[in-house]
């Protein structure tokens, strides 16, 4: 039982009153982070390069630990004049650290292009460019991406290189997609982990090879913990020095308080709300210096922070205004984190998202309602700052209090895409099916966007492995296995579509390709996992994840208690729509000939009759998202053919400790639908060549005509329980649709219908009208803080590239 449950009785709290708005301090901090130009910080690259060069003979894991230690103890630190929480991801707001051990080639190649990007630009000065040109070449041949491609079997690499499967982001930036066990972390403090590591180390037996290996892990953990402690200690010293310099008594007191907090939490567990938040932020920042993987999530903040909050509140030490202000300071700190990706990876993750998820609501391990007073404060504070970080998720369940749901809808009504909902009613039972203990299943949180895991007890990437382009595989099924873009036949097919006698033959041909690409997706991910395990192990993140210390293993070596992962499949609605159009128009109604269809696809519907044929495919066949079983079942069936194969495979951790070690499907494919669509020729759903695919599990843009309810019904027909990597549904509502409280009330009723009866996985909303988006395209300067939901995350609209902006504008707006 967690501390949160001991003190929490359902509704044993008053709902906090809305306070006017952000404090002047928060406003200033927010403005500062919003106006900070994205750049890079070289301190990490400098430190890691020096350490790696000087310690070439030492094991990778020790070099990585020393690199972190060096960065944390040598980097420039500062405290901004308004800071209540201190520390940063790098030396400057929104300056992304460089991670040379993962990849350097793209950095050198794109160095002069960063500021010219159509979206997600980064600004580097000439000195920085010169230093990078000096630092990075040493890494050539030593980076993870190169080692990873070296490990990949040639046949697999060939498929990967064709772009049908993409795993680039995993090799150029590491894992992420994980949450540490914050509850334990706050209970033990850094010193507690140090003692536990020391104790385990003392019990090793060096006659055993595995214990020699374990010792290296423990040594690395101790180095990293030392780095963290010294890093925090530096902030204590700095705060004291700054306090000396300031003449304002109020600020001086704040700085001395900060110094006291840092002195204490550098090794001891936090004692109050402020200390706990400060330690959470330090771990969040440091873990993102250790690894460049995004979606490092904070888990169930309203649960593990609640005891601290309650204690302070009972003692009269904290009021709503202070709690909100501290939370808002944390959101702004999360917003200061930045990550630079290669341009090709950026297009999959448009808008520079870090996906630092915070999850609230849901159930207690006993199955009671977990909403508490702090849940409201978190919701309100995220609504007030209205930034893209954190990525806020609410766990829905049947007994979620109505006032809380209404409060969620009010924040959604602000239009920045948060909170998103995950549904306990499907996640928990399915998790138990997977083999997760009941109490732990009830303790799950969202990770990154919409995927779920039990925080601190689950390995990396409950989703977010490689991306598979379903439509390129589907087009290969029509051409005896020949994939039209690469011109290669990776898997011989079942003949050419022109010769297919009936629809069943098409489904068989799809199955052949689906099975093959399912295996390829696993193969790509297995190679990537082996490479990361060997060449870029994460130490601290492993130490803070359950069973790693006990087993003396990193997560990638099989340290975590649970291990389930998923890649993403892109183009679900296009697949269903293409099958339905062919079945109806070619085989049933015979309005389109087989050869005629193939010629139209090959020519992108050019020539006489091409456009007419495209419109027939588009308008005269059922489309996913309209509550039409004809097409919905085809989409579900075709996806299931893939999953049947995919789910039989196991991860590289099988037999090494974790429970599970299995794959499941996933659709939280972020903004990949745009770049993936850009590589797909014309498809039989009437989609023109190179245009975006459907996003996540959402309908193809403009094809859902019956409103939000019909979309819910269609999405619910997918095999949700087997798509544990997330069933991503974006709904765009016009602001007028939920103007009044009565409207919000009814939207809540629809949500409950979707979640309780249809067992939907997730939904998130964009509440912004077309005119606003068009205006923001015309006048980006005036819409700098316009935040929209891209996929499983929100981003600043004006930071997106024009093609992703257009994709969002094109999504169907439901008026209700």
């Amino acid at each position: 039982m967690t501390a949160a449950q001991e003190v929490h009785e359902p509704r044993a709290y008053d709902i906090p009153a809305a306070k006017p708005d952000m404090t002047p301090r928060v406003r200033r901090l927010r403005e500062k982070v919003l106006s900070a130009r994205p750049g890079v910080c070289l301190e990490r690259a400098r430190a890691y390069t020096r350490v790696y060069r000087e310690n070439e003979s030492r094991p990778v894991i020790i070099r990585r630990a020393l690199g972190l230690l060096e960065t944390l103890t040598s980097g420039g630190i500062r405290i901004d004049e308004d800071d209540l929480l201190v520390g940063g991801h790098s030396s400057r707001l929104r300056a992304a650290p460089i991670f040379p051990e993962y990849a350097v080639g793209w950095i050198l190649e794109e160095l002069d292009e960063f500021e010219k990007r159509p979206g997600d630009a980064f600004y580097l000065d000439e000195d920085q460019k010169a230093e990078l040109r000096d630092l990075l070449p040493w890494w050539s041949g030593k980076t993870l991406v190169e080692k990873g491609y070296g490990i990949m079997p040639p046949q697999v690499k060939e498929v990967h290189d064709s772009g049908i499967i993409r795993a680039e982001g995993n090799l150029t930036s590491g894992d992420g997609h994980v949450a540490i066990w914050h509850e334990k972390f706050l209970a033990l403090g850094i010193g507690g982990y140090r003692r536990e590591t020391g104790r385990l180390m003392a019990g090793l037996d060096f006659t055993k090879a595995e214990d020699i290996r374990r010792r290296l892990f423990y040594e690395a953990v101790l180095i990293c913990l030392d780095g963290m402690e010294r890093h925090i200690g530096r902030f204590a010293d700095l705060a004291r020095a700054d306090a000396e310099k300031t003449s304002a008594p109020k600020r001086r007191a704040e700085l001395l308080r900060i110094a006291g907090i840092c002195d204490h939490i550098k090794s001891e567990p936090p004692r109050d709300f402020h200390e706990a938040l400060q330690l959470i932020w330090f771990s969040q920042a440091v873990l993102q210096i250790e690894s460049n993987g995004h979606s490092l999530s904070l888990g169930r903040l309203d649960q593990y922070l609640y005891p601290f909050y309650l204690r302070d509140r009972a003692a009269g030490r904290i009021g709503d205004e202070q709690a909100l202000e501290l939370l808002e300071c944390l959101w702004i700190k999360l917003m200061s984190v930045n990550k630079i990706r290669s341009w090709s990876h950026t297009r999959f993750s448009a808008g520079g998202p870090l996906y630092q998820n915070v999850t609230i609501g849901g159930q207690t391990p006993d199955g009671g309602d977990a909403v508490n007073r702090l849940s409201y404060l978190i919701l309100r504070s995220v609504g007030e700052t209205g930034l893209t970080q954190p990525n806020l998720s609410v766990r829905y369940h049947r007994r979620l209090p109505e006032p809380f749901l209404m409060e969620c809808l009010k924040v959604i009504g602000k239009g920045f895409g948060m909170p998103a909902f995950n549904n306990d009613e499907i996640v928990i039972p399915e998790m138990i099916q997977l083999g997760v203990g009941e109490r732990e299943a009830r303790d799950y949180s969202a990770i990154g966007c919409i995927e779920v895991a039990v925080p601190g007890r689950w390995g990396y990437r409950c989703t977010g492995m490689s991306f598979l382009n379903f439509m390129r595989a589907f087009l290969a099924a029509l051409r005896d296995g020949r994939e039209p873009v690469s011109g290669k036949t990776f898997r011989k097919g079942d003949g050419n579509f022109e010769d297919f006698a009936g629809f069943d033959q098409l489904m068989r041909a799809w199955k052949t390709q689906a099975v093959f690409y399912a295996r390829m997706q696993v193969a790509v991910d297995a190679a990537v996992d082996l490479a990361i395990e060997e060449f870029a192990p994460d130490i601290l993140c492993s130490a803070f994840t359950d069973r790693c210390l006990e087993r003396g293993k990193t997560i990638k070596e099989g340290g975590s208690k649970y291990d389930f992962i998923s890649g993403l499949q892109v183009g679900i609605a296009n697949l269903g729509n293409s099958l339905a159009a062919i079945r109806k128009l070619v085989f049933e109604e015979k309005r389109i000939g087989k050869a005629e269809l193939m010629a139209a696809l090959d020519s992108d519907f050019a020539g006489p009759g091409g456009e007419k044929l495209r419109l027939l495919l588009l308008n005269h066949a059922p489309k996913f998202g309209n509550d039409d079983e004809y097409v919905d079942r085809l989409a579900a069936e075709a996806y299931a053919l893939f999953i049947d194969e995919y789910a039989t495979h196991v991860t590289t951790r099988r037999g090494r400790g974790p429970i599970g070690c299995r794959y499941y499907a996933g659709t939280s494919s972020i903004s990949a639908n745009v770049p993936q669509g850009a590589s797909v020729p014309a498809t039989p759903d009437g989609r023109k060549a190179w245009t975006p695919l459907a996003e996540g599990c959402s309908p193809s843009s403009g094809t859902d005509r019956l409103g939000a309810g019909a979309v819910f019904k269609s999405v619910a027909r997918l095999p949700t329980g087997r798509i544990f990597g997330g069933v991503l549904l974006n709904q765009k509502l016009s602001p007028s649709a939920i103007r009044t409280d009565a409207d919000k009330d009814k939207l809540g009723v629809m949500l409950r219908g979707f979640f309780d009866s249809l067992k939907g996985w997730h939904v998130q909303y964009n509440i912004v009208d077309r005119e606003t988006l068009l205006a923001a395209q015309r006048e980006p300067e005036r819409h700098r803080d316009l935040v929209v939901r891209v996929a499983g995350y929100s981003a600043f609209f004006t930071a997106l590239s024009p093609d992703t902006q257009d994709d969002i504008i094109a999504r169907t707006e439901q008026t209700l």
């Binding site: 044929l613 419109l615 005269h620 019909a710 009044t740 009814k746 629809m750």
Partner: protein, 295 residues
Amino acid sequence: MIFNIQRCSLHDGEGVRTVVFMKGCPLRCPWCSNPEGQSFGAELLFAPEKCIGCRDCMDAARNGEIRWNGAGPVIDRAVVKDAAALRRVCPAEAMTVAGEDRAVEGIIAEAEKDKVFYRGKGGVTLSGGEPFAQPELALNLLRAARERGLTAAAETCLDYPWENIEPALPLLDRILADVKHVDARKYNSATGGDAARALGNFRRLAGRGKPVAARVPVIPGFNADGASLAAIAGFVADAGARSMHLLPYHSFGEGKYALLGRAYPLAGIRNTPPESLEPIAQELASTGLHIIIGG
């Protein structure tokens, strides 16, 4: 005949509604946002900018309803007898058909697809057009809804003989009844209807004890002035209804007039922002009515 089934509407009665739009209306309100629902037969809608010039509609039109003018089809609306024959002919959906004879079973089956969202409150709403202009279909739909345990509401102008309306009342859980104006001269000349009949029916209806909400489309130049709205509210309260919805004028239906080859009578009048009705709504609340903007 119906011309649309709108799924999951949040604005046409209690809870989440499935709205069945029935074709044909006795009135011709110039602000009507569903002009394709006014006539009692199927009608062709044509969007020339979507036409790709494939001439499939020419081939399907057997009575000379469609001529070709070189660039695209021209509909001779006087000649169109069987618009339904052109349904789902146009690949581009440039030409579509408003109006379809559908069996009661099929309509209710469509509504039942929304059942998971009703959650005890929502249900079917008959709208139009004017539902009571097709009393038999209306009754059959309401009976079928009742059999399946769905709640039922109707949106009506009430400008029809009471005999058409009355039999449906026991089957309705809620009625959303228009009170467009209490000034008979203005009402009759703007809508072509009979104010005495509509208002008389409203009094009868309100006297029945059913939940009745008066719906007032607030139209600039017709009834948007304070005196008109106050008079309407006075009438509604006096008749015994409890709530009144002010529906801000919008021109969202304008595009459909063009599709029907008709001019939009209120072209140039700007949409009324819902917030702008708040002051008058507060004043009208003094009548004791529950005033809702939108609804």
